[in-house]
């Protein structure tokens, strides 16, 4: 499940600070831009999904007070597929136990300012898995150059 550290892999280790999520976006943006199979629109999907995963990892480390441990973004790109693993040390969580959002037509929807990150990440990636590590979470996302699951619901 985990990405091996091969010569083709780029690792970014960032502190648990909101300001550096933009650096993670820049790096994944450059990696995707280097693969001509990804058009601008699909590249934007990848940037957004990775941004959500890094934001969650950083926020989880901040709220669990793991400020001195870096968050890792591990990227690899191969023949029209980009794979990214975001690793945190925030103690882990159960993504299946998250309360589902109310239906769009439900006025209660407006009570939910948060909780959009993981749904977005699932819709924008072709495959995603949340893995428990010894001290946190590893989120592995695959993106294919042709949009697979980004159609409006």
């Amino acid at each position: 499940m985990e990405l091996q550290r091969t010569p083709e892999v780029i690792d970014l280790e960032i502190p648990a600070r909101a300001e550096v999520v933009s650096v993670a976006r820049l790096v994944i943006g450059a990696i995707v831009a280097a693969d001509p199979a990804f058009d601008d629109d699909r590249a934007a999907d990848v940037r957004l999904a990775i941004s959500e995963a890094c934001t969650n990892a950083i926020q989880a480390q901040i709220s669990s007070n793991h400020l001195t441990t870096p968050v890792t973004m591990r990227c690899s790109s191969h023949e029209g597929t980009v794979t990214v693993e975001v690793i945190d040390h925030a103690g882990g969580f159960d993504p299946e136990s998250l309360e589902p959002h109310p239906e769009v037509t439900d006025p209660a929807r407006l009570d939910h300012e948060r909780g959009l990150g993981i749904p977005l990440l699932r819709m924008l990636s072709d495959e995603v898995s949340f893995n428990r590590t010894a001290d946190g979470t590893s989120v592995v996302m695959h993106f294919m150059a042709r949009p697979g699951s980004t159609e409006p619901r």
Binding site: E19, R47, L48
Partner: protein, 117 residues
């Protein structure tokens, strides 16, 4: 990496022009600007996203909170965007059904606010 916000007035509408990237680091500033406008009695807000290059779920959450606050004050809340990329994010999250989105500031402000609707 930066967020720019300017505030203008068009008739009874207060227009927040937003540029740059709205993410976990910058979204709080947009929220603060909306709260500031409301506290100055400006209850009808247009948030112009035309110059926004990136928005994430934190940014969407701040727009939702803006809409809620505006409604609480009996005002009206409109968004401006004609960017396919941005509109797609509203669509896949279902938020296009929640927000009143116009393709330009002129179209968003053409009609006066109809509070309570």
């Amino acid at each position: 990496m930066d967020l720019r916000i300017d505030v203008g007035q068009q008739g009874s509408w207060t227009v927040l022009g937003v540029g740059g990237e709205i993410d976990v680091a910058t979204a709080p500033r947009l929220r603060d600007q909306m709260i500031a406008a409301l506290s100055e009695g400006k209850h009808n807000l247009v948030v112009n996203l035309e110059a926004v290059d990136f928005i994430d779920s934190t940014g969407l959450g701040v727009l939702i909170s803006g809409l809620k606050r505006v409604k609480t004050h009996g005002g009206e809340f409109r968004l401006v965007s004609a960017e396919q990329r941005l509109l797609k994010i509203f669509e896949i999250t279902g938020l296009d059904a929640v927000f009143n989105i116009h393709p330009s500031v002129d179209e968003a402000t053409a009609q006066p606010p109809s509070p309570g609707i």
